[in-house]
């Protein structure tokens, strides 16, 4: 039963389905939510989905994480390290953007008392 899950194909399938589901939750969030915080959260969910997707698809059964310690015998037995590095960087960037967005949101809320993005329309002719 569990062997079924110990199959790279299956895991990839689950990851694809799961991350896409997550992605579309985020997608749904940004399409429907108007609260700035919720929108930012939706973005984060979408990003997370992408991260899972990317990392997950590079995982193969029997390979270890590309971290240099005693478990790592040969370079062939580890998963591709590049995606990991990329995702780490991306997470940092995502975090920075999120933090910036939240700080903007807080400042804006302090000034106006609003956080509905569809009502941010003072910039118009």
């Amino acid at each position: 039963m569990l062997d079924f899950f110990n199959n790279t194909q299956t895991i990839h399938m689950i990851i694809i389905i799961g991350s896409m589901a997550l992605f579309f939750i985020g997608f749904y969030g940004i399409a429907t939510q108007k609260n700035l915080v919720k929108v930012l959260v939706s973005f984060d969910i979408m990003e997370s989905a992408l991260f899972l997707f990317f990392i997950g698809l590079h995982y193969q059964v029997g390979l270890v994480a590309p971290i240099v310690d005693k478990n790592l015998k040969t370079f062939t037995s580890m998963v591709d390290p590049v995606p990991q590095a990329m995702i780490l960087t991306t997470i940092v960037i995502g975090l920075a953007v999120l933090a910036l967005g939240l700080s903007f949101g807080i400042e804006y809320y302090k000034l106006t008392g609003r956080n509905d993005i569809s009502k941010m329309n003072e910039l118009r002719d």
Partner: protein, 484 residues
């Protein structure tokens, strides 16, 4: 000097900013000027050097990270560093006039913005490109929210949301590319792009298109752009118009030609560019806020550039690059001059701004307007005629007719502004232009006339750039590390 300094120096200056601040505002402002000057001089030093140039970090490409400077990026590098230099001088005046503003915050992000933009055009690695994309993005969000008032914050938030969407698309695209090809090196991607399953490749291309297109203000993804211009200070507008938007445009076409997409995509981009041009110019007619108006004008000009750059004909592309350069200079001139007026009148309404009286500003603004309209003997004319000539050679008369017809619409608002400046019946308020601004605006105006009168100065570089853009063999070789 290694190309890495283009990134390292700004970042260094950016991190040192708090220290400079302690040394006093003069040092702070001076440091930025110094940085821009160094970068500009370094770029000038590359003029005449055999291109492309490569700077690799630790491992040689395609595995390692590298910066490549070819003819295409040299042109943009010149534009960016020059714009940065001009803006840093302008900001010296700006902070003199507006003492008490958070100068350090501006300079941190200004320096980083330069680093990010330059990184985007030099990087030969799609993931690095993404990082610089994000750096540029974050800096632009912050800069557009530099006025920490309602409008500024609103524009910051809007920009941030759009930026987030764009970055998600780009990340997705990069991941798909990596999943398909297993590399992030642009050279390798270009080489193997045709191997990807067509459906996936369509998805990748579309995601990149949406990601960079949204940032490069293409219709229908540019509804946010005027708001951002309206909410930020005019020097930042100048930067957005002449540096940031151009950087995204650079990447867009860099990838476009590297991936060697078919003529179907070209037609698509051309149509999208045309629609952008049309819609923006018509919308600009209806504006009463000068910043929004010039935001639409920028969108329109980007539309022309998209039309012309997507033709794959060296004549048109060369013309478009000329036009791009001239547009950058002209828009910088216009935004900086308007900045002086907005500072004086504390408003960006056209009706109010029209009341100024200053012969110098009238002349330089008129030069800027005429140049953007493409009227000789200013630089815009050469760009426009080269574009038209290119279209004519490929017998694309529809595009010619379209550009010329919409240009008339463009002329309506440009000359309405001009007429307003020249109107004697308005109550006139004398505006004094400080010596710093006097020098930089004169410099920009002289450049516009110079390129118009003696275009060979620039056509040499635009031809180089065109060659590098359309025939990226050398670039690919360097990116693949062949012969290093």
């Amino acid at each position: 000097m290694s190309l890495g300094y283009y990134f390292l120096l700004p970042v260094l200056f950016s991190f040192l900013t708090p220290y400079f601040k302690k040394l006093g505002s003069f040092t702070l402002r001076g440091s930025s000027i110094l940085l821009s000057l160094v970068l500009f001089l370094q770029t000038v030093a590359y003029v005449g050097v055999k291109l492309p140039q490569i700077s690799q970090f630790s491992i040689k490409p395609p595995l390692g990270i590298a910066f490549i400077l070819d003819g295409y990026s040299l042109l943009f590098l010149l534009i960016f560093t020059f714009s940065a230099l001009v803006v840093s001088f302008y900001m010296y005046w700006f902070f003199e006039e507006n003492s008490g503003r958070d100068e350090a915050r501006f300079y941190v992000f200004f320096n980083m913005l330069i680093a990010g933009s330059i990184g985007m055009i030099l990087s030969c690695d799609i993931f690095n490109l993404y990082i610089f994309f994000e750096i540029t993005g974050i800096c632009s969000y912050t800069l557009s929210a530099f006025n920490k008032d309602k409008l500024g914050l609103e524009s910051g938030i809007k920009y941030l949301i759009i930026g987030s969407i764009a970055s998600i698309f780009i990340v997705f695209a990069i991941m798909l590319i990596y999943l398909q090809i297993g590399t992030v090196n642009l050279g390798l991607i270009a080489q193997r792009f045709h191997l990807i399953d067509p459906k996936i490749s369509v998805l990748i291309v579309l995601m990149l298109f949406i990601g960079f297109g949204a940032k490069a203000e293409l219709f229908p993804m540019n509804f946010w752009a005027p708001d951002i211009y309206q909410g930020s200070i005019s020097s930042v507008n100048g930067l957005f118009s002449s540096v940031v938007a151009k950087a995204y445009l650079f990447v867009f076409f860099h990838l476009f030609y590297l991936f060697n997409l078919g003529s179907k995509y070209m037609l698509f981009v051309m149509v999208i560019g045309a629609i952008t041009f049309l819609v923006s110019e018509f919308t600009a007619l209806n504006q009463t806020n000068v910043k929004r108006l010039f935001a639409y004008s920028t969108l329109g000009q980007l539309g022309i550039l998209f039309m012309a750059l997507s033709t794959n004909s060296s004549q048109t592309v060369s013309g478009a690059l000329f036009h791009l350069t001239s547009h950058s200079i002209s828009k910088l001139l216009i935004f900086l001059a308007l900045g002086i007026l907005i500072h004086k009148f504390k408003s960006a309404k056209i009706d109010i701004l029209g009341n100024f009286k200053s012969g110098f500003l009238t002349i330089v603004l008129a030069i800027g307007f005429l140049s953007i309209l493409g009227i000789p003997p200013f630089s815009g004319f050469v760009g426009k005629i080269l574009i038209l000539k290119g279209f004519a050679l490929s017998q694309n008369y529809t595009a010619i007719a379209f550009i010329l017809l919409v240009s008339i619409v463009e002329a309506i608002y440009f000359f309405r502004l001009t007429a307003m400046m020249l109107d004697k019946k308005r109550a006139k308020v004398t505006v004094k232009v400080g010596s710093v601004n006097y020098i930089i605006l004169t410099l920009l105006a002289v450049l516009i006339i110079l390129f118009g009168v003696y275009p060979s100065l620039l056509t040499h570089y635009t031809d180089l750039a065109t060659n590098a853009l359309l025939h990226p063999t050398n670039y690919l070789n360097y990116a693949l590390g062949v012969g290093l």
